[in-house]
Amino acid sequence: MTPMIDVVFQLLSFFMMISNFEQDKADERVTLPKDKLARPPVVKRESSFTLNFGFDRDKDGRIVDTTAYVFDGDQKFTIESVRGRLRQEAAFYRALGKDIADVTVEIRADAAVKSGQVQDLIQMCQENDIAFQRFALKATQKSEF
């Protein structure tokens, strides 16, 4: 009995350690660009929220709809319709009493979206009634070359 319990405890601690609940905000539909210089922030951000911006894809990862969407759980918004969602998010942080200037918007944009749309999204986040100021662009750390 004792050796079995030993092994089970080893396994348990292994899985507990490698479980990462931090990246639950990531949406699988978004294929991030890859870059070897992309590093996690040295100091953990006090408050941040993630915008997943990509395409609807089939099982094999092929794009089925060339319109880019902002994914939010089961909901998805086009770039034109996401403004209301951003207002909600800004109102949420204001209601918590946080300075909106300290909130970082982490943008997880697909490698194939148009850069102008990412700029549109950033500009929308900066509008007067939303007013986010800090942005971070996400990429996976692995590099192809």
Partner: protein, 168 residues
């Protein structure tokens, strides 16, 4: 009166079965919730459009490095990369050239004064239809280089130019 030796003599059985049950439940939970994902990193960017940063005024005498990226109409691939107006070509080689051009700029800045490097900005100016992956490559080329597994930082202040028209 109780005699201590008596209790020590009789062996107490710890019930193992419930503990093993719980441990197996936990094990299965962690095994099923495991999601293998590649580690993610990010690049901070400065965006002074909506709320002009105070530094925008003080840095007025230090023009930003301008990185202009033209896209192939339709495909969104990179057609030409420019650094301060000089064409650097296309493909992976262009970003390596950009990296060395930025290094030259950084070295020139270091020669002028220690604080100047922190004030220097890079302005990324892409066509509307350019694929986003090239933005990340350009930001990466401006922000530093990997030397023996360590990152050497060049410029950390990166911003976008105003958005270009969709038709371009």
């Amino acid at each position: 009166m109780k005699i201590r030796n008596q209790s020590a003599a009789s062996k107490i059985e710890i019930p193992m079965a419930p503990m093993i049950d719980v441990v197996f439940q936990l094990l299965i939970f962690f095994m099923l919730t495991l999601k293998i994902v590649e580690p993610e990193g990010d690049f901070d960017i400065n965006m002074p459009i909506g709320a002009p940063a105070q530094s925008a005024v003080t840095d007025a005498d230090l023009p930003p490095f301008k990185v202009r990226m033209e896209a192939e109409p339709g495909s969104g691939q990179l057609r030409q990369l420019y650094f301060n107006g000089n064409p650097l070509g296309t493909g992976e080689g262009a970003f390596q050239l950009l990296n060395s051009e930025v290094l030259k700029g950084v070295n020139a800045l270091k020669a002028t004064g220690p604080g100047n490097l922190d004030k220097q900005e890079v302005e990324i100016d892409p066509d509307y239809g350019l694929n986003y992956e090239f933005i990340i490559s350009a930001i990466s080329a401006c922000s530093g280089k990997m030397v023996d597994g360590k990152m050497v930082r060049y410029i950390s202040r990166i911003k976008f130019a105003p958005i270009r028209d969709k038709q371009e």
